[in-house]
Symmetry: none
Subunit: 196 residues, 4 copies
DNA sequence: GGCTAAGCGAGACGGTACGTCTAGTCTTCTT
DNA sequence: AAGAAGACTAGACGTACCGTCTCGCTTAGCC
């Protein structure tokens, strides 16, 4: 058993994940985690420097952060709305966690970096596919920068969460898609920007 | 002295503001605030329901949240970059505070609302002026939705802060302006969206 | 309430005293004391540097350390046995506490001094009276050094506790009185030693 | 190597003995013993039931508990002082250990018995010789109960350690010999008590 | 000009989480 | 097959912080 037992680690991460959703970040105590995982606090602190580090690890390793893949709705505008909807879904899940952690993140840049590395939907293929479908339909989707489109969509969602708060309703989704993303994609298609 | 002494209130807000920048939100304790303000904790809790409320009050009343007014650079693209630069400046100041508070904001929607009411640059006249100048120059700035433009710009800045972190460098500013905001304004000018 | 509230102090000392006899020194935890006294651990640690200091205080202030006064049995030998019996009674009560503390006392001489100051039966008048009674009966009790007699008696009792252990039976009491204390008192009476 | 290796046992006892004098009983941890003896904790716990048992074993087997034999000083009074001096020497060495153990001894009578079996100077021949020498010199040493004399002397020394604390100075030695032991021996010689 | 009401500084209090430490058990790998 | 290495459970310890409360003192406003 000399190397840190992965079974125990798993149990601790599981317990943390459960409690995280049951109580939220700051009402969840390390003692509770230990009790639920039938682990000793020493076992927890042998692995993680503290509660925030543990939770970041949970987020990175056991939390499903990938947005669901946007479905084909038959039109570019519809697909963009669908994209925003998917991002909303994920962001609302992440939001609580990140907000709970953020007071720590501010004074712990190393931790912040670790978390950020796992935040974005690494998988851009959904957005890519959306643009390809649009192009195939003859819609003005060519040359759009996939990553930038995803970033702008994500930015709109998070901005809304921070400045207006949940819930993210359908009106917001449609506005974001129709008034920002769609015009933007069209603009890129017509006068492409030099890719950076 | 029967009504709550405004002098004491001021001293407490000042002390809080100082400590907030010296230590950050969560390493700052109420006892420290009391000591620095030569006030009793009772005096603090007679006015504010708790530490988060106090800090929100600091932000609302003693924290200069208004973005500096973007200057005229002679071109729409330049003005947009200038706008983003101004937003960056403000956002970086706000960022730390909001992140420190956010674990509380999640479970205290009332507080969140209070804070949000003071977050946005209420003053959109700078953005308005920017668009007017563009229009006067014959640039494609007509019919752009002032509030929406400001929101998108702000969204880009905050997204960057959350997902990449400070500092907000010049490359980011230029990209945001040239690759997103400028195409967007042009798109709006050419095929205006129905205002919501 | 500014000065440390004596009511709380009392409650804590009481709770400690109770738990001390219920569980013994080392199975008693500070958390238990706090819970029983309906006090916070902070309140305890504000007053005492730690568990040993608290217990020493209990012993000094709330523990009745005085031996019962030996009764008149009608003879010097009987009175001496009675004295030993009284000392046994007290010592057996003290024994557990001192033994529980002693691992700390070894490495904390300051604490040891505090405890020692409260250990001896300060009241020697019982022993004094015993000797006077003997003298009045014409028994050889003159000139005996009261303090020294008490010390020898006490030494015999503690030696027995340490080297043989409880319980202190009647045979021991009689032997101590008849074979040591009585001969000693007689010897002092016949050829008094120069008092030191 | 199949039978529990006596070499390892020896190493563990040695390490314990060293640490015992370096740090005292309660600041010495089992992990430290293991590390110093280059042994595993399992190896320790395979042989001894716990830390107290181990230490008792050290005391019984590797600790020289016997008082040095009192030398002939040419007079009974001098010999008695010499006896007390020898007891002091041993007691001061034992004192720390016993005090460190005592919190355990209280709640573990079996262990207490094991320790007690090794505590007294089993070898009474030194005391016996002392009395014989006195008798041969014509001093009043006849019929004295060797074991009881040793016990009283020992009692005086331990009482002093407990109630006044180390160090045991020369004044104490002389007083104990001249004011208690010598009168007592003389009294026994003149009116012998029936041996119990 | 006293009386009352309330704010005030000071700081103890209950509660609770944190992170550290130790004792004693158990597992895995090495020799 | 015994031993070294060291991870494990359990739980006590002492610290820090929050928000409440109680003291006296001082001040303001009203009779």
């Amino acid at each position: 058993m000399a190397p840190l037992d992965p079974v125990r680690e798993r149990a601790i991460l599981d317990a943390t994940l459960e409690l995280l959703s049951e109580m939220g970040y700051d009402r969840m105590s390390v003692d509770q985690i230990a009790k639920r995982a039938r682990a000793s606090k020493a076992t927890i602190y042998r692995r993680w420097a503290g509660k925030p580090e543990l939770v970041v690890d949970v987020i990175c390793n056991r939390f499903d952060m990938d947005a669901p893949r946007p479905r084909d709705t038959g039109s570019l505008r519809g697909d963009l709305a669908e994209l925003v909807r998917c991002l909303c879904e994920t962001a609302e899940r992440k939001h609580t966690l990140i907000m709970g952690l953020s007071s720590t993140l501010v004074s712990n840049q190393e931790l912040a970096r670790a978390l950020r590395a796992h935040l974005p939907s690494r998988d851009l293929s959904g957005v890519e596919a959306l643009l390809v479908r649009g192009e195939n339909r003859g819609e003005p989707a060519r040359r759009a920068d996939t990553a930038r489109l995803a970033a702008v969509a994500e930015a709109l969602v998070w901005h809304r969460l921070i400045f207006v708060g949940p819930p993210l309703d359908d009106a917001f989704v449609v506005e974001a898609a129709d008034d920002v993303l769609f015009p933007l994609v069209r603009a890129w298609a017509e006068r492409p920007v030099e890719q950076s």
